[in-house]
């Protein structure tokens, strides 16, 4: 009996204080649960969706929600529920790709700027200042205006918009980390710059950057949906929530379901990542 008690204890103790703070935060847990559900819906879309997302049935055009079509049908008779489910794939993908790209590029620039300082830091940070001088959606529109409308270009645009935030954050953490004793010790032991940066300094940036990136996914999904809504992002016939809203508004007020479900899906997804990001921030930085 005593053995069982001692065996159970270390398992509970394995949860870090940050994880325990995260799990005590109701909003964070709701955010995590919603995110898991969304990812499952996206992954399992081919099995969950009652119809193929682009299967047209012109005899059932613009049908309101019914037992056959829970979320109704659109102007081509396509099942809105199936399109919303498949839209989760596009939204999560086009939300994640720019964040990962922006994170990799921004962190690399911030790492170089903070580690080497001097002229490299000056040049890189002035470039970031210029990018930050634009409101984010305006910068995304400028990039799409340059490269032309389309999903790939919109993803590039949102990635570029997110780079300065990660670069500045990574640089600020690196500036502090490079002065830590363990970095000086590693240098004294003969570690070269790339090793110092990647093995000793970079890990210090991972916590704050993870929080920023999680909050960034919500922003990226909103931006992508906005660009698609304007007709500059994901193009038809791909199932995308922003594009569905853009087309659905033409059939108001009669077919309000075309508006309700894709919009609710975007809001719920962004809410999930915002809750998750807020929860992670509070867990890692309990001062607030």
């Amino acid at each position: 009996m005593a053995e069982r008690v001692t065996a159970a204890r270390p398992r509970r103790a394995r949860l870090s204080p940050a994880a325990r703070r995260f799990l005590r935060n109701r909003g964070a847990v709701v955010g995590l649960a919603l995110t898991v559900l969304l990812v499952l819906a996206a992954v399992l879309a081919p099995w969950l969706a009652p119809y193929a997302p682009d299967a047209q049935d012109l005899r059932s055009r613009l049908r309101p929600p019914s037992p056959e079509h829970w979320f109704g049908t659109d102007e081509f008779g396509r099942d809105v529920l199936s399109r919303v489910l498949f839209g989760a794939r596009i939204s999560l993908l086009t939300g994640l790709v720019p964040v990962i790209t922006g994170l990799v590029v921004g962190t690399s620039l911030g790492l170089l700027a903070g580690f080497y300082r001097g002229w490299l830091d000056d040049v890189l940070m002035r470039v970031m200042d210029v990018l930050l001088a634009f409101p984010s959606l305006l910068l995304a529109l400028a990039v799409v205006g340059t490269l032309g409308p389309g999903m790939v270009n919109a993803v590039i645009a949102v990635a570029i918009v997110s780079v300065p935030g990660y670069a500045r954050l990574a640089r600020s953490v690196v500036l502090a980390a490079r002065e830590e004793e363990y970095v000086h010790a590693a240098r004294a032991l003969g570690a070269h710059d790339p090793r110092l940066m990647l093995k000793h300094v970079l890990p210090a940036t991972l916590g704050p950057l993870t929080v920023q990136a999680t909050l960034g996914i919500g922003f990226a999904i909103l931006s992508m949906a906005g660009l698609s809504f304007l007709g500059l992002g994901v193009q038809p016939p791909t199932s995308d929530w922003g594009e569905m809203l853009s087309r659905g508004r033409r059939f108001l007020p009669g077919s309000s379901w075309l508006l309700l479900y894709p919009g609710a899906a975007i809001s719920l997804t962004v809410l999930a990542f915002n809750l998750l990001g807020d929860g992670l921030r509070d867990a890692f930085d309990p001062r607030d």
């Binding site: 634009f134 409101p135 305006l138 400028a142 490269l147 032309g148 809504f229 500059l232 962004v270």
Partner: protein, 309 residues
């Protein structure tokens, strides 16, 4: 204070130069030939000889730097080029749309400050109660719900179903109500979050305890002592939101067919009108930078630590 203003103005010069350089580079970064990019849709069916002639006529055969200096000179003279679509001056096109954008941004910010400020203060004062929980949830929804969706829902309910307000267009104050409410709700959420956090922080400070110890009325302590000190971060967010709206109310302007600069930009992108895209982007970015400068200066005026720091 004058030294601070001069420093901030000088600091703006490289940023503004960088912004102009970036906007100028859009033509060069566009895939394909800059002449084709500049011609937009009218480039279809054009011969190689005509392209070369136009390249010389537009001065695009010169070096990048030489062209940039010329462009900078034009920008300083407020000449942003000629729109391909309307053959009108880009400057006059953008300026003719600016009052509509300013009206939308101004009224949206008024709503945002009133609603967001009130929610933020209530949430901070009643921290941990159901009022705080409601305010947090509403603020979270405000930052998560896309502004074009909330705009469409407002349109569906108040224009198409109840018929109380016009669904789109401009001309009267009634046209402004829904776009301003949609944008205002979204900005209010940010303001509420910052006001709440900042006021909670201020209420913990020693001067608040001192004010209470002096026997001051609680509402006076909260509103006069704490709120006044909590306002600095709020001013920053208000400024950022307002600056963003001057160029970023694109989505709402599109939903309600509001004739602002944002919609002009989207139409220009769709019709590949490169000079109009560049001009609108530059105008909005400069407006954003100038609003941020004003915020910084007001920050310095409110907080002596900033100007002497």
């Amino acid at each position: 204070m004058l030294v601070y203003v001069a420093k901030r103005l000088l600091g703006l010069v490289p940023v503004l130069l960088g912004v102009v350089l970036l906007v100028f580079s859009m033509l060069w970064l566009a895939p394909g030939d800059p002449v084709i990019a500049l011609l937009g849709e009218s480039a279809q069916g054009i011969s190689a000889r005509q392209v070369e002639e136009l390249r010389r006529a537009y001065g695009l055969d010169r070096g990048f730097l030489e062209q940039f200096v010329d462009y900078l000179g034009d920008v300083l003279r407020l000449d942003l080029g000629t729109s391909l679509r309307s053959s009108q001056s880009v400057t006059s096109e953008v300026l003719s749309r600016f009052p509509a954008t300013l009206a939308l941004a101004g009224s949206a910010m008024a709503i945002a400050i009133l609603v967001g400020g009130a929610f933020g203060v209530l949430a901070a004062v009643y921290k941990g109660t159901w009022i705080d929980s409601v305010a947090i949830v509403v603020a979270l929804l405000g930052v998560s719900v896309p502004v074009f969706w909330s705009g469409l829902i407002l349109m569906l309910v108040f224009a198409l179903q109840l018929g109380w307000l016009p669904a789109s267009g401009s001309g009267t104050w009634r046209h402004l109500v829904m776009p301003a409410a949609a944008v205002g709700f979204s900005s209010a959420a940010f303001i509420a979050r910052v006001t709440r956090a900042s006021l909670i922080e201020a209420l913990r400070q020693d001067f608040v305890r001192t004010a209470r110890a002096k026997g001051l009325n609680e509402s006076r302590v909260r509103l006069k002592h704490a709120l006044k000190n909590a306002l600095l971060p709020v001013v920053t967010v208000v400024g950022l939101q307002f600056g963003g709206l001057l160029g970023g109310a694109v989505l709402t302007e599109t939903v309600f067919a509001w004739p602002g600069v944002g919609r002009l930009l989207v139409d220009a992108i769709r019709s590949r009108d490169m000079p109009l895209v560049q001009g609108s982007v530059l105008f909005c970015a400069v407006a954003f930078i100038l609003v941020n400068l004003l915020v910084d200066l007001s920050y310095a005026a409110l907080n002596p630590k900033v100007r002497y720091g």
